[in-house]
Amino acid sequence: MAKQPTRVIVNGKAHARIVESRLTLADFLRHELGLTGTHLGCEHGVCGACTVLVDGRTARSCLMFAVQAHGCEVTTVEGLTPDGALSPLQQAFMDNHGLQCGFCTPGILVTLTELLRENPHPTEQDVREALTGNLCRCTGYAGIVKAALDAAQRMRETREP
């Protein structure tokens, strides 16, 4: 199988690897870099569990090859997590029971990170529409929606004291 050198900045750290051209970005993150927080639920771009930020925009890491991320900055759930603590969004998920099995959760946190960055005042409908790219089988979404709105408020309060 053809191999290519790939340089990617993941969660602020530069990585250079020679990888098979067909290696997905998800498998690269999980198995080459050991960042197993990014999960694979369908491997055909519907469930959204593998969502990461590529140069700040959400992307399905199951539908992207690692070599396509050459020269890009990638952020995973590990990169959204402060050292030894939870981010306001993560804390809001814990407080509002926004997760059950936790398998879809990393992708959802990444999706909502993008939403809250671009829209600090989302309505419930904004949150629900943003989440249509992520499937959750456990929660029925109520706790997730509540957590997102709660996090938006907490983040506004820290920004605008």
Partner: protein, 783 residues
């Protein structure tokens, strides 16, 4: 004892790791030298396996081997897997071989397995294995399967009828002959799959030094899995450790023991290296068990006042090609129909049909949603025909709280008489109707209709047998560090099992929740275990946690009293310390007590002192715990597109004493989402030859965030008198009455056109077809 944990909205102990990417699911476990497997699966629903040519696959670099049934170690080479829930009604007790030996009976059945350096190479190689099949005639529809002329699902069987049984009581013929009214319904229901977002996954590793075979599996039932694996490998139970680490959703299909869970450990033994298999989503659609079609022909007999006199009918259940869990879904379905109502006479004849499709086993609700749908559709029909309010018809027929315990007259799937332990069904419905503003709905509907909008309301009531046996265990042990170790055979796929059990133990032992070290889903942690299904863990493991916690509490108090020189009655346990209530209130920590409880080498323990501070309890329920509830759905239907929007969804739920409302509300809301999927979206389709047609999330639709409203949930607590917690199950109830309430609401919304629905899923195409047949569009365009 204070109520600081039990009944409180305690935040989950599971969350910090899962939120920060530190969860440990099977595919996150990395062992050096791991090989990766990919299965060769049948593309045909019915075929004879003639020959396997592995040479093209073996020629690929990085391939370590291609294995068929004869290459496997142990009895599984020849013996099929065991049936977990046998039943004397089963005439054709078919279960499958872990790799096909001769006849193949569904698309996706495991034929061979490839092992390679990576999953990528294994998949290439699996595609290169050439298999010679002789195709056989297949049957895909269970209605066709029971015809004499049908092709046989298994060529050596005389009939595709795997089982028939009758559940009955009362004089059904007499009440139907004399009833004022009899109404009949033909109902089709489909359940689809569990569709956990984490697919199935197995990793196995054999340590030649200890001869221990360790298996990580994304399973709901590691203790059962270990037992099955021991039989299939011919290996001692004690030489196998099965671990269910973090598991990404279960919903029933992961309670089953699958061929891959035997083959992968077998290969790890054979090859002397760890072997991993991660199912992909397409395989999950093909091979993870489902619940599928049931066809009901049912009739209800009522008197002139709409009081039920009897229910009778026939249930045809599609079991797929094998019966790994016997016939429990159709059995539960047939026993769940009477529900919260007084039904004086009852008879359901069930036919279980084999078809050339993947087997069916329980999916969240397990036969109950279908039963509730049948009963509630019949009651809606009664209301419509007699021009009565739907809630009023139900009110007239409820079992009253003063009739508890109520004996229905059937035997439930636990083998015990179906006796409802407790419940207040009228109060539950009243609470849901009040919360849903049912009384104001007709005015809302009239106002909407004036704007050309079609809104409707529907009700679904249910009683659910939960908390099934045989048992579940909990060990509580105080550690020298002062922490409290808790181990259980219960498992967690998102239910918050760790948190719930920690709450109970902390309450009874008198320690901080944060000081509990919990092990779930590991056969090495506790000798006996059963696992997650039938909404059973809070009742079974929860009761064991209480009993073990109380026993250790007694040990702590007895030892502390002796050490502190006070009466046992004067010792309090709080936050990990034993504190005397008398004198200058001396205290001693749990850690020091744990060290003392180890004794001094060679010195006899004082009279009455047990070794260590430790107790294991196995709670064995005497019968099921019957939870209940009412759902009310308010929907809007777009008559032009057939699109349905759920405007408002209300739940009144009785799961007995609630241990953690945060978790129970989450279970109910999640169940409702599953019910919405069943009602409107989820349909695993096959053609007449048993070829699956919906094998991706683009074809098979799961509910999205825009499909599921946030429910208003009310808890109606009637304490279960049969277990020490007073609890009933909560995991599945949310999924059970949803289809009944939603389909009723759609029918109500479209009542100006007089359309009738008795099927799920009710897709937009089917709604439009019904409206067209009713002449709705002529009227709408004329208006």
């Amino acid at each position: 004892m204070g109520a600081k944990h039990f009944g409180a909205r305690v935040k989950r102990l599971e969350d910090p790791a899962l939120l920060s990417g530190r969860g440990r699911f099977v595919d996150d476990v990395k062992l050096p030298g791991t090989l990766h497997a990919c299965f060769v699966r049948s593309p045909y629903a019915h075929a004879r396996l003639k020959a396997i040519d592995a040479k093209p696959a073996l020629a690929l670099p990085g391939v370590h081997g291609v294995f068929a049934a004869d290459d496997l170690p142990g009895p599984m080479r020849r013996e099929p897997m065991a049936m977990l829930t046998p039943n004397p009604s089963i005439a054709a007790p078919r279960t499958q071989h872990v790799l096909a030996r001769d006849e193949i009976c569904y698309v996706g059945q495991t034929v061979a397995v490839v092992v390679a350096d990576s999953r990528y190479i294994a998949e290439d190689a699996a595609a290169a294995v050439a298999v010679d099949y002789e195709t056989l005639e297949a049957v895909g529809d269970c209605r066709d399967a029971i015809a004499e002329s049908s092709p046989r699902t298994h060529s050596d069987l005389a009939s595709n009828v795997a089982a028939t049984f009758r559940l009955t009581y009362g004089d059904v013929d007499a009440v139907f002959a004399s009833a004022a009214h009899v109404f009949e319904e033909e109902i089709w229901q489909h359940r689809g799959g569990g569709m956990a977002i984490e697919t199935r996954a197995v990793l196995a590793s054999h340590d030649p030094v200890s001869d221990m075979l360790t298996v990580w599996s994304a399973t709901q039932t590691p203790h059962i899995g270990r037992r099955m694996l021991a039989d299939l490998l011919g290996r001692e139970l004690e030489a196998i450790r099965m671990i269910a680490p973090d598991v990404g959703g279960g919903f029933g299909p992961k309670a089953i023991f699958y061929p891959e869970e035997a083959v992968i450990p077998g290969l790890a033994l054979k090859l002397g290296r760890p072997v991993k298999w991660i199912e992909d989503r397409r395989e999950h659609f093909l091979c993870a068990t489902q619940e599928r079609d049931q066809y009901w022909d049912v009739a209800i007999a009522v008197d002139a006042e709409a009081k039920i006199l009897g229910v009778r009918g026939r249930l045809l259940h599609d079991s797929g090609a094998f019966l790994p869990w016997g016939i429990i879904m159709p059995y539960i379905a047939a026993a769940t129909v009477p529900g919260p109502y007084v039904v004086p006479a009852y008879q359901i004849d069930t036919i279980v049909a084999l078809t050339n499709k993947v087997p069916t086993t329980p999916v969240r609700g397990a036969g109950r949603p279908q039963a509730v749908f049948a009963m509630e559709r019949l009651l809606d029909r009664v209301a419509g025909e007699l021009q009565l309010d739907r809630a009023e018809v139900r009110r007239r027929n409820f079992i009253k709280p003063e009739q508890m315990p109520y004996e229905v007259g059937l035997v439930f799937r636990d083998g015990k008489p179906l006796i409802y332990d407790s419940g207040d069904y009228p109060a539950g419905q009243d609470a849901a109707l009040a919360q849903a503003d049912y009384d104001g709905f007709r005015e809302r509907q009239r106002a909407a209709l004036e704007q050309g909008r079609f809104i409707g309301i529907g009700i679904g009531n249910y009683v659910e047998g939960t908390g099934l046996g045989p048992f579940e265990g909990v060990t509580v042990r105080v550690l020298p560090s002062g922490k409290v170790a808790v181990a259980t055979g219960a498992t967690s796929q998102g239910q918050g099992t760790r948190t719930t059990l920690a709450q109970i133990v902390a309450e009874h032992v008198g320690c901080r929740i944060d000081d509990i070290v919990m092990t779930v889903g590991d056969t090495a942690a506790i000798a006996q275990g059963v696992g997650a299904f039938a909404s059973r863990q809070a009742v079974n493991a929860g009761s064991s946690a209480l009993l073990a916690g109380q026993a250790v509490r007694g040990q702590l108090i007895a030892l502390a009293a002796r050490v502190l020189g006070v009466d046992p009655g004067d010792v309090d346990l709080e936050d990990g310390n034993a504190i005397a209530a008398t004198g200058n209130k001396p205290m001693i920590s749990f850690g020091e007590l744990a060290r003392l409880a180890q004794g001094i080498p060679g010195v006899s323990l004082p009279e009455g002192q047990a070794a260590g501070l430790e107790h294991t309890a196995y709670y064995t329920p005497s019968q099921a715990a019957y939870c209940s509830g009412t759902h009310v759905a308010e929907v809007e239907v777009d008559a032009m597109t057939g699109g349905v929007q759920i405007l408002r969804y209300t739940v009144a739920h009785d799961s007995g004493r609630v241990i953690n409302p945060l978790i129970v509300d989450g279970q109910v809301q999640g169940g409702v989402a599953h019910g919405i999927g069943n009602a409107l979206l989820e349909w695993m389709q096959y053609d007449d030859n048993g070829q699956p047609l919906t094998t991706s999330f683009a074809d098979y639709l799961l509910p999205m965030a825009t499909d599921v409203p946030t429910c208003a949930i009310t808890h109606v607590e009637t304490v279960n008198p049969l277990n020490p917690l007073g609890a009933k199950g909560a995991g599945e109830g949310g999924a059970i009455p949803g289809p009944a309430a939603i389909i009723a609401a759609i029918e109500d919304a479209l009542s100006p056109f007089g359309v009738h629905f008795a099927e799920t899923p009710l897709t937009p195409e089917r709604i439009v077809a019904a409206l067209r047949a009713a002449g709705a569009y002529e009227r709408l365009f004329a208006a």
